[in-house]
């Protein structure tokens, strides 16, 4: 189990780096698609089948199509490498590395031994739906309003005259 998990982790890291260092935008989008599918495997590992399938449908089926269509519409071709090699970038990378180490150290010390054993554990569709429509009803409605605002904003931004 652990071997399969880390093989999957290796592949997701390779696909993420493929998105990062790609020169052809469409090829980077395809690498992002494989990255999303490898992310869904973590959900299957954790026993949450529903979230794994939602991940594949929404990310691999929806967002990738959106990104690929925009790349095709904009006509982005293979470009010269556009990395921002400057002092501020390297300072940012060093700060980020310190942040990552701090997260690993702090969370590794505190959360690894903290097992709350919530009474609400359920990975089925019925369990998640029950949680959404009872305890999380207000955030669910706010999320629907957010989606509506997103649709209107995307329409306004992509219109001809702004």
């Amino acid at each position: 189990m652990k071997v399969i998990f880390y093989v999957n982790a290796f592949f997701s890291l390779v696909f993420a780096l493929g998105v990062l260092f790609g020169k052809n935008p469409l090829r980077s989008a395809l690498s992002l698609l494989l990255f999303f599918i490898s992310i869904s495997l973590y959900f299957f590992f954790a026993g949450s089948d529903y979230l794994g399938f939602v991940q594949i449908i929404v990310y691999a089926g929806g967002i990738i199509v959106l990104i690929a269509f925009v790349i095709i519409i904009l006509g982005l071709r293979r470009e010269s490498p556009d990395f921002d090699i400057s002092l501020r970038s390297f300072v940012g990378i060093i700060l980020l590395a310190l942040f990552a180490l701090g997260v690993l150290y702090g969370m590794g010390k505190s959360i690894l031994h903290f097992v709350p054993q919530s009474p609400y554990f359920d990975t089925s569709v019925a369990g998640i739906g029950d949680a959404i429509f009872s305890r999380y009803l207000l955030p669910f409605e706010v999320a629907s309003i957010l989606l509506l605002v997103g649709v209107v904003l995307a329409f306004i931004f992509a219109k001809k005259e702004v």
Binding site: V19, L20, F36, A46, S48, L66, L104, G108, L112, Q117
Partner: protein, 100 residues
């Protein structure tokens, strides 16, 4: 035996990779794709928490993160199309309209 630490390690590494992309790339499309990598790495932490603290709540949070990611990419790509139409480029270093 697989533990929460494994999920956390993979998640932090992928978050770091996505953040490097946001900092280093100048193409707006690449920045949006790196943001997607960062959001997905957060989902790995949450699903590890759900698995090892035996809790349903992180799974609901994953669904909300998914909604936010979808809205973010839709609005971001709309902005990218508009910038391409108005300025003729998606290089973020060339946009100075809001510079004080």
């Amino acid at each position: 035996m697989l533990g929460f630490g494994d999920y956390l390690l993979v998640s932090v590494i992928l978050f770091f990779v996505g953040a490097i992309g946001v900092i280093f790339r100048r193409n707006l499309i690449y920045i949006l794709m790196s943001l997607e990598i960062m959001l997905n790495s957060i989902n790995i932490t949450l699903i590890g928490l759900a698995r090892y603290s035996r809790d349903t709540n992180p799974q609901v949070l994953i669904l909300f993160i998914l909604v936010v990611a979808a809205v973010e990419v839709a609005v971001g790509l709309g902005i990218a199309i508009n910038l391409m139409r108005v300025k003729g480029t998606v290089d973020v270093d060339l946009f100075k309209s809001l510079k004080g």
